[in-house]
């Protein structure tokens, strides 16, 4: 079994936690939680096979969160001494006191069994931070060089993160966790004199180690070999005629539509208005739970924090709640939300489903997204079979531009590649395509989902939410799926050209 790095375990985790929790208790806090985190990240960028910039960074510190007289208080610190931890507890209690005059809603948390001294490490083989920078540059540089000559320019980047968290609360839960994730991206660029375009690899970010770049989970050489010809074809492709089309959407594009139109829309804090001034609310309001026809009967959505290699997968969340799997949409109907402990109690769910997360020691945990995934149909069709059902349509691969309104109704997405479908067959690439729809119209138009053989776990490192802004990594699994009669825009015409 993978182990947590000894140098993290050697930090004075328990001494600091004891000092903070004791001080919070002495000052009369009803609840206190201590979290110590180290987030190591390394990013490198190459352009035309040359290293353009790299950064090896970490963030290290701790946070104390209290409830005092029904009001939250939060403070963080960077000096790893029991004295500083106790001071942070005092500061958190003081923040609660200053904030009390503007708090009209006493804070209480849903109960959670005590998880005493438990440990979890994510699924990876090779710690990317044990691979020398020069080896990474050589690998990405080699891939880039293989494309140059067939395209004009190549950019390449690799983001790697190792997140280590120690959590202890006044109920007695103590968790220690470590997870690793990485995201390699290569983008080829080409101009034909008048037009410029680019094409990016479709390899998703994953909760894996460096083995992801050496043959486990993705075949990068095979994908890269196809890109120059695909990009050349894209440059020569005709511009799409705006109108309504049937769409077959590949997992490499559909994950993002799931993220924006389902993932965020089913966060209970949004549905209740807690994000109203910033990220927004949701059309999927609490009164619609159990009745909203979110999509067609073939739509089944599960939230989970347990999927192997998922970016939102954890052992326990940042409120000490065990990672779980739960239904959000069943047979097309809204049946659940993503919860943290406060929201769970507020709306009578009994227990949180473990969706609290803070992206750094300086930030407060808030409800963040689980791996929210569309379930494939057992024995369902292949992508080719879905395409064969379309007389006039578009097949969409890869994500690019995305935008959705503050209640998650109206969205617009583009992609990396678009293929015309004529009489059940692909008939060459198209350009300048965007699809635009209202969330429930779109999901109700989903006629079929592909089988497990089409299922891919996509995702992102940088889902933004909250103020101060926080970013969270999250995966979304999905099969290919067939949608009928979706509005396609021509983006050049939209620009008034």
């Amino acid at each position: 079994m993978r182990q947590i790095d000894p140098d993290f375990l050697a930090l004075p985790l328990r001494r600091l936690a004891d000092a903070a929790l004791q001080r919070a208790h002495d000052l009369g806090a009803e609840y206190a939680a201590f979290r110590l985190e180290r987030v190591r990240s390394e990013t490198l960028r190459l352009f035309d096979a040359r290293l353009e910039g790299s950064m090896d960074a970490d963030d290290l510190g701790f946070a104390v969160r209290v409830i005092k007289d029904g009001t939250w208080g939060f403070a963080s610190g960077i000096e790893l001494t029991p004295e500083a931890a106790a001071r942070a507890a005092e500061e958190a209690v003081r923040v609660a006191a200053v904030s009390a005059p503007i708090n009209r809603e006493p804070v209480e948390l849903a109960p959670e069994p005590v998880h005493a001294d438990v440990t979890w490490v994510s699924a990876y083989d090779v710690d990317p931070f044990n691979v020398p920078l020069r080896d990474k540059v050589e690998l990405l540089g080699g891939w880039s060089s293989g494309l140059l000559g067939r395209v004009d320019h190549v950019s390449a980047s690799l983001m790697q993160v190792k997140e280590q968290k120690f959590y202890a609360d006044s109920a007695g839960t103590v968790t220690t966790q470590q997870r690793v994730r990485l995201h390699p991206v290569l983008t080829a660029m080409r101009s034909d004199g008048d037009r410029f375009d680019d094409m990016r690899t479709l390899a998703p970010p994953v909760g894996r180690g460096f083995e992801y770049l050496t043959g486990t989970g993705w075949d990068f050489p095979a994908e890269l070999a196809e890109i120059p010809d695909l990009l050349t074809e894209k440059l020569k492709a005709p511009s799409v005629e705006a109108g309504r089309y049937d769409l077959v959407i590949d997992p490499s594009n559909l994950w993002l539509t799931i993220h924006e139109s389902i993932g965020h829309a089913t966060e209970l804090d949004r549905a209740l208005g807690y994000e109203a001034a910033y990220a927004g609310t949701s059309f999927a309001t609490f009164d619609k739970l159990g009745t909203l026809e979110y999509g067609s009967p073939s739509m089944n959505i599960v939230g989970d924090r347990t999927a192997e290699h998922g970016l939102a997968t954890v052992g326990w969340d940042d409120e000490g709640v065990e990672g779980q799997s739960f239904d959000i949409v069943r047979d097309g109907t809204l049946v659940g939300y993503q919860l943290d402990r406060r929201m769970a109690l507020l709306k009578g769910f009994g227990r949180s489903n473990g969706c609290a997360f803070a992206d750094s020691p300086g930030h407060v945990p808030m409800q963040r997204m689980a791996n929210v995934s569309l379930q494939p149909a057992e024995g369902g069709p292949s992508t080719e079979e879905l395409i064969s059902r379309v007389e006039r349509g578009v097949y969409i691969m890869g994500d690019k531009s995305w935008s959705i309104d503050m209640q998650r109704y109206n969205f617009q997405f583009t992609g990396q590649r678009f293929y015309r479908i004529e009489n059940g067959r692909l008939a060459g690439q198209l350009r300048d395509v965007a699809y635009q729809a209202t969330t429930t119209d779109f999901w109700r138009s989903m006629e079929a989902v592909g089988g497990p053989q089409t299922y891919v776990l996509g995702g992102a490192f940088n889902c933004g939410k909250g103020q101060p802004g926080q970013v969270a990594p999250v995966s979304h699994g999905t099969p290919s799926a067939l949608f009928r009669g979706v509005r396609i825009l021509n983006t050049v015409q939209e620009g008034g050209k």
Binding site: I102, M406, P468
Partner: protein, 460 residues
């Protein structure tokens, strides 16, 4: 093991002395922040935080290595510097390698760092509480966020440069909604210390806008004469600014690329002689007067750290004047060295009319509150998509006559510069979409005769 933290000045000097590289740049960022978040006339979250980040950039020959660590203790410093030195020895030569900026001193280097605390809200929090009570009594619900950040950046180089900048950044977003959530209005302000924030006056403005929204007018998608207020203009111009890298333009990848090669510098973008510029000394939105670069990219170079920043016109008299440069990209493009600056100002030469005067001078058109979820659709035209939010108002015969549904727009800010017919009086404003990253802007309202509302959004 020594657990006491050093002062940032001590850390810079010691790290420089420990480096065995040919050259070295050390940056220490000391940060502190306090925030209050609220929804439905009550507090939701709050917090105070401290940070201390050490970045060591070692240079060996033409190669650089960057290692950045948080909360570094004195006994850990040698390891961080050694790691940066080793990274530089392992790296390929960097294209952007240049001699380090000449030794000079900027800012009060020796002064201690005074962190911000929750006390920055000592007067603001009770005033906000009073506004909650007033709003509750009047059937309004207030939502929003107040944050104050103080970042002190210390840059030291082996060439003798010592530069320091203390940057206060404050923002308040205030959103009022009717009790049934069907009407919504938003305003925001940027502040250096919250002493100038009048929350009751801001709430009164929002109450007036919620009254405007009592009459609802449904309009279809289409092109409309539209007044974009300063906050909406700031979000569009910030995106334009972020897309103004000289290197990418020269490579043919952006809206500022000239077909056939080169950049569009010198090309007229607008018949109205607008000026878009940055100035580190602009009153009220002062920012770092020297380059602080933690890593090299296409728009910044670690070798440029400490380089003095002067006021720079990006668009002058309606003509593209400069693009964002490093010394390296300036050499490649044969243009002036004009690095990115952390503020943005847009003005018209005649000063322009106030927003109220522009509304009064409108026969029929839309008045926006702000834009949201702005994303790039096409880099070559800089076509952006996004939504209107928290109030689109119909103006007829010089008066607001009701609230219109929200729209999704598809527009390019560069194209808008070529089509705008009026530039109003500039004022300090808070961008709605981008204020997590960029808060220091002075912008006018603008009038566009045919803003492209691509589709209706059901969101309200």
């Amino acid at each position: 093991m020594s657990e006491r933290m050093s002062t940032p000045q001590e850390t810079v000097e010691r790290a420089l002395s420990l480096s065995r590289a040919d050259d070295c740049v050390v940056i220490v960022d000391e940060g502190s922040s306090a925030n209050l978040r609220f929804a439905g006339n009550t507090l939701t979250t709050n917090g105070v935080a401290r940070s201390s980040q050490l970045t060591v950039i070692s240079i060996v020959g033409q190669s650089s290595g960057v290692v950045s660590r948080a909360a570094v203790r004195p006994d850990q410093l040698a390891d961080v510097v050694a790691a940066a030195d080793q990274a530089a020895r392992d790296a390929q030569p960097s294209e952007d390698a240049r001699p380090l900026a000449a030794g000079a001193s900027t800012g009060d280097w020796d002064r201690g760092v005074e962190p911000t605390t929750i006390d920055v809200f000592r007067d603001f929090a009770p005033a906000l509480g009073e506004s909650f009570a007033a709003a509750e009594a009047s059937g309004r619900r207030l939502y929003g966020f107040a944050e104050h950040i103080l970042t002190s950046s210390f840059v030291g180089t082996s060439s003798g440069l010592r530069a320091r900048h203390d940057q206060p950044t404050g923002r308040l977003e205030l959103n009022a909604k009717s009790r049934d959530m069907s009407r919504s209005a938003w305003t925001g302000v940027a502040t250096r210390d919250f002493a100038d924030v009048d929350v009751a006056a801001l709430d009164a403005t929002l109450a007036r806008r919620l009254d405007w929204a009592k009459r609802r007018v449904d309009l279809p998608a289409g092109r409309y004469e539209t007044i974009l207020p300063p906050t909406a203009v700031s979000d569009l111009m910030i995106y334009l600014y972020w897309s103004a890298g000289a290197r990418d333009a020269a490579d043919g990848r952006t809206v500022f690329s000239k077909p056939g090669g080169g950049t569009r510098i010198g090309e007229r973008l607008s018949d109205v002689p607008v000026r878009l510029y940055s100035d580190p000394a602009h009153p009220g939105i002062e920012c770092a007067p020297f380059v602080v670069a933690h890593a090299s990219s296409r728009e910044q170079s670690v070798f440029d750290n400490g380089l003095a920043l002067d006021a720079t016109d990006w668009i002058s008299g309606g003509t593209l004047a400069n693009l964002v440069q490093t010394r390296h990209s300036a050499e490649l493009t044969g243009l002036a060295v004009t690095p990115q600056i952390d503020n943005l100002i847009m003005t018209s030469p005649d000063g322009g009319r106030s927003l109220e005067e522009m509304i009064a001078g409108t026969e029929r058109g839309l008045l926006l509150t702000c834009l949201w979820y702005i994303r790039e659709v096409d880099p070559q035209s800089l076509l952006l998509t996004g939504l209107t939010r928290d109030g689109v108002y119909l103006v007829e015969n010089g008066e607001v006559v009701g609230e219109v549904n929200n729209f999704r727009f598809n527009e390019s800010p560069v194209d808008l510069l070529g089509r705008l017919t009026e530039v109003g009086r500039s004022e300090q404003t808070l961008p709605r979409e981008w204020n997590d990253y960029f808060t220091r802007t002075v912008m006018p309202a603008i009038r566009v005769p045919d803003f492209n509302m691509s589709t209706v959004s059901q969101a309200n």
